[in-house]
């Protein structure tokens, strides 16, 4: 099956996808909570979004979702109202399956929709995903029937005929002499092309009188042509496109005439309207070409034109147009209102007798219903019905003032009256409904096939503009582009400062220098603000990543017969999208490890004196320029001894060295590649599968990872992440003739020491930095450049990477600057020691040193 969307429906489809996806995440979350701590409010919290999805899916014609969510909603309803079914793991599983299935459907729709998204089409066709959900429906039925009392209640309910009128508009055929018509169509296309061209000119220069004259002339010609054809054919069909062509061209002409005569100015609004006129005319010509009647009347554009010209609109014309167009809807509105209110009124009438204490209230309701009916009758000009309503209102008003007059006979006869009217109305409606159905049925298929372009589409876009959307979707690449530009802006903002200095120093023009500096400051401030704003656009809450973990934890725990509770904190902490994308996998690994190996089985936990249910706490928070994400569990922890043994066994470290190592350093062994995958350690320590992967991932986004664990008490892993990847700060240094950038997040300190303080050991230079022996790396040597000239005083940058400190020997410190990291071109991607490049204010390209490569 395929679905066809018009332009604006297509926008709604995206709204639906976004909103439904959000709802589904929430639902899943709550279903999981429901298993552990059932409560009415939770059931409510599942029911409501499910209900919303059902409602919304109806709008966008995704009937499979509507059906499935509807059945599920019924199931939850049983849970909600009378607790007819119990919350079982069976039920939870089923609900999760439903969510998965709906997600699957939405994903498929989304994939298709994304493909069509950037195309400008008249209609968007989407295949309904062929996702079978009958198995779920069966399961739902089974669960529903699991309770016997439910069956007893299932008495067949006879549904009154619903008031749904067919909505497909009739498309009448037009008969117009072929030759005349074709000539007119061709000519009109040409005229419209000229009009478009002139409109563009007019838009450029609103005073272009020549353009106005040309447009007027062309419009006039079109009008004349349409009149000739109208007079030559016998037609009084309102939907004849020619009628509208004539009307619209006439009004547009009037508009322009007024402008010329009154010497008024053309403004942007008028140009817009004229563009819309041209679009509508094109649509109408297309209709004419295909011999179709107008399916949707371009009332809006006419109203707009009338508004502008102030000309008295041809009331009869518009009204008859609207009546023609909306006959089913108007009838629906009348019958819906009348029938509903009369039906609703009946039980209340009976109450006047059965519940005399509430008489005042009942009368109020009855009068309200009758007045509503009267209003409907008046609006739709139904004379006999108005009379009927007036009589009833008088009667009940009388009762209101003389309550003692209420008696069985009186009321009963009134009920009979109303009943009779109801039957009458229902009959009338059924007759009308049957009639329209007859006319439209054979056309339904054909109409559906061509229903795409609508005449009103063009002027609807104007209305669309004031539709207020609080959220817009923007393709990522646009933001990336913006980021790139802003990056260069930030870099170039330094140029002005340099220029100001140069003017003062080199040319000694203090005044000019000062003014340049003022501008530079302003420029600085604005570009900083711009940068921050764009950064904020890219920020996303970690919730987006966290949200899938409850499900993951539950699945793994269930598979291993463990009881695990996942507590999440600080889900609203925001991170740059690029960072968010990169932390998903590491976190997934870490959590899987925690549940799989960290948390013990319930039996083991009991033995260890812990509660059977293990707890994993996942928290996120902001601190300084970083975001911290911590995963903590109360499992068995990492066995330090086992790690030590393994490290020795693998020859990673000597025994003497090991003795001197701190606990932290020892635990860090689990990040070594290949270290933890060995089965033995996994069995003993139960930790570390894929920890090297985690580390590599985190390092690749300039984050750090810290681990702490206490045997039998649990493990804590802390990720320290940069807020963003794109912009950071760097320390510029000079080595020989080359300049390098060292990322500031790695820099601890810069020191200048005397040459004599450097010790040499096994060809390595070392020095004592705050009671720590730190190795010195000579950048010049790393990059194979000539060595630095021998100075008495040596400049060192102390850097830290993942708890390892070392010093970089440089010639000169040049200062701290903001840098925009540009990735290396592909062929240089694997260059060791360099993580990227940055452009300096004066246009030079500098290499950014990758500290991790230098260790």
């Amino acid at each position: 099956m395929r679905l066809e969307y018009t332009n604006e429906d297509f926008i709604f489809l995206f709204d639906f996808i976004t909103e439904a996806s959000e709802h589904l995440l929430g639902i899943e979350d709550n279903i999981l909570k429901l298993e552990t701590e059932p409560s009415q409010s939770l059931i409510e919290a599942i029911y409501r979004p499910m209900h919303s999805i059902k409602g919304m899916s109806g709008f966008v014609n995704l009937n499979n979702i509507k059906h499935l969510t509807h059945e599920t909603e019924n199931l939850i309803d049983l849970l909600k109202n009378d607790k007819k079914i119990a919350i079982s793991s069976e039920l939870i599983d089923l609900l999760i399956k439903v969510v998965d299935r709906v997600v699957k459907i939405i994903k498929q729709v989304n994939q298709q929709a994304e493909l069509l998204r950037n195309q400008k089409l008249d209609s968007y066709v989407i295949d309904v995903p062929d996702v079978d959900y009958n198995d779920l429906l069966e399961e739902i039925e089974k669960l529903k029937k699991s309770d016997a009392t439910d069956k007893a209640k299932k008495v067949a309910v006879v549904k009154p005929a619903t008031l749904v009128g067919p909505s497909v508009e009739q498309k009448a055929k037009l008969v117009i002499p072929e030759k005349l018509k074709n000539e007119f169509i061709e000519e009109t296309y040409e005229h419209l092309e000229i009009i478009d061209a002139e409109l563009l000119k007019l838009e450029e220069d609103l005073d272009d009188e020549n353009a106005i004259t040309v447009i007027m002339r062309e419009l006039h010609t079109i009008k004349g042509g349409s009149q000739i054809i109208i007079s030559s054919i016998e037609t009084d069909i309102l939907q004849n496109p020619l009628n509208y062509i004539q009307k619209i061209t006439h009004c547009s002409e009037t508009l322009l005439q007024q402008i010329v005569k009154a010497d008024k100015k053309v403004d942007a609004d008028i140009v817009d309207i004229l563009f819309a006129v041209s679009d509508v005319l094109k649509e109408l010509i297309a209709n004419l070409k295909n011999d179709e009647a107008v399916s949707e009347v371009p009332v809006n554009i006419l109203v707009k034109l009338y508004n502008f010209t102030g000309e008295k609109p041809d009331d009869k014309f518009i009204e008859s147009v609207q009546a023609e167009q909306k006959i089913t809807a108007e009838d629906f509105a009348f019958f819906n209102t009348a029938l509903q209110n009369l039906r609703g009124l009946l039980p209340v009438c009976a109450e006047l007798i059965t519940n005399p204490d509430n008489r005042k209230n009942s009368l109020k309701k009855i009068l309200r219903a009758l007045k509503t009916c009267l209003k409907a009758g008046e609006y739709h000009n139904k004379k006999s019905f108005i009379e009927f309503c007036n009589n009833q209102i008088t009667f009940f008003n009388f009762l209101k003032d003389n309550p003692e007059q209420v008696n069985d006979a009186f009321i009963q006869s009134t009920i009979d009256d109303i009943n009779q009217k109801l039957v009458e109305l229902e009959k009338e409606y059924a007759e009308k409904y049957a009639k329209t159905a007859q006319i439209e049925e054979p056309q339904a298929g054909a109409a559906a096939a061509v229903s795409g372009p609508s005449v009103a589409a063009a002027d609807k876009t104007a209305a669309e503009a004031d539709m207020s959307l609080s959220v817009i979707k923007v393709p990522m690449e646009r933001i990336d582009k913006l980021m790139g530009i802003i990056g260069e802006l930030i870099v170039s903002k330094g140029t002005l400062q340099i220029l100001a200095k140069e003017i003062a120093v080199k040319y000694n023009m203090i005044q000019l220098s000062r003014r340049t500096k003022e501008i530079a400051d302003l420029f600085n401030r604005l570009s900083d603000e711009l940068q921050n704003t764009v950064m904020n656009i890219r920020m996303m809450p970690v919730k987006n990543v966290f949200n899938r973990f409850p499900r993951l934890v539950r699945d793994i725990a269930k598979k291993n017969d463990k009881k695990v509770k996942l507590v999440m904190r600080g889900e609203d902490t925001e991170l740059d999208k690029t960072v968010i994308e990169k932390i998903n996998d590491p976190l997934l690994h870490m959590i899987r490890n925690s549940v799989d190996h960290g948390i013990e089985t319930p039996a083991e936990r009991r033995k260890a004196g812990k509660s059977e249910e293990g707890t994993i706490i996942l928290s996120a928070w902001n601190q300084g320029n970083n975001v911290y994400i911590e995963l903590q569990d109360d499992g068995r922890g990492i066995d330090e001894e086992a790690v030590k043994n393994k490290a020795l066994e693998k020859g990673l470290v000597t025994e003497t060295k090991l003795e001197k190592m701190s606990k932290k350093d020892i635990l860090n062994f689990i990040f070594m590649p290949g270290f933890s995958t060995a089965k033995k350690v996994t069995e003993v320590s139960g930790r570390g599968v894929g920890m090297d992967v985690v580390k590599t991932n985190i390092i690749s986004i300039a984050g750090t990872i810290e681990i702490d664990s206490e045997k039998n008490f649990g493990t804590k892993i802390l990720l320290i992440l940069p807020l963003t990847l794109a912009v950071s700060k760097g320390l510029e240094v000079r080595c020989g003739d080359s300049y390098f950038m060292i990322p500031l997040e790695n820099v601890l300190e810069t020191v200048k020491i005397n040459k004599t303080l450097i010790r040499e050991y096994k060809l390595k230079e070392l020095f004592n930095y705050r009671d720590e022996i730190v190795p010195i790396v000579d950048i010049c040597r790393v990059f194979g450049m000539c060595s630095i000239k021998k100075n008495e005083e040596i400049s060192l940058v102390i850097v830290q990477y993942n708890n390892i400190k070392f010093a970089l020997k440089v010639d000169e410190f040049l200062g701290e600057t903001e840098i925009v990291v540009k990735p290396l071109p592909q062929m240089l991607e694997n260059l060791p020691g360099v993580s990227g490049t940055t452009i300096m204010p004066d246009g030079r390209v500098e290499l950014i040193i990758n500290i991790s490569d230098l260790i």
């Binding site: 709204d15 409501r48 619903t162 609703g344 309200r368 209003k375 207020s468």
Partner: protein, 122 residues
């Protein structure tokens, strides 16, 4: 210009309804839920209220009830819009004081026609 208050917890539905009504030259004010709806209702004057039934914080029935409780003779027309198609939910809507009940999904023309019917010529 007639002023309509649209109370619905779904952004999609709110946008949809406001879009339809605005393009038919109604002034539209929206509210996210019952509580906000009542706040807006009592701080302004409306020609018509469109309210959803299932909403967080305060449901549609209660919204209608509270509006009716606050009124004397002059009553504002209220349209209840919901996916609920059952007769007893409709009856409950009338019980609370609604004028018309429309089942979602709403067809634009029908919604507009109903709104016009209840507001009358203006």
């Amino acid at each position: 210009m007639a002023k309509v208050l649209v109370i619905d917890d779904s952004e999609l539905v709110r946008n949809f309804h406001s879009y339809i009504l605005r393009s038919e030259k109604f002034e539209v004010v929206t509210a996210n839920d019952g509580v906000e709806g009542l706040e807006k209702f009592f701080s302004d004057k409306f020609d018509l209220v469109i309210v959803d039934l299932n909403m967080p914080r305060l449901d549609g029935y209660e919204v209608v009830r509270q509006i009716r409780d606050s009124e004397d003779d002059e009553e504002v027309p209220i349209i209840v819009i919901s996916t609920e198609d059952s007769e007893d939910k409709k009856a409950k809507g009338f019980e609370a004081g609604a004028n018309v009940y429309i089942v979602k999904p709403t067809e634009p023309e029908k919604l507009v026609a109903n709104v016009r019917t209840l507001i009358g010529h203006k």
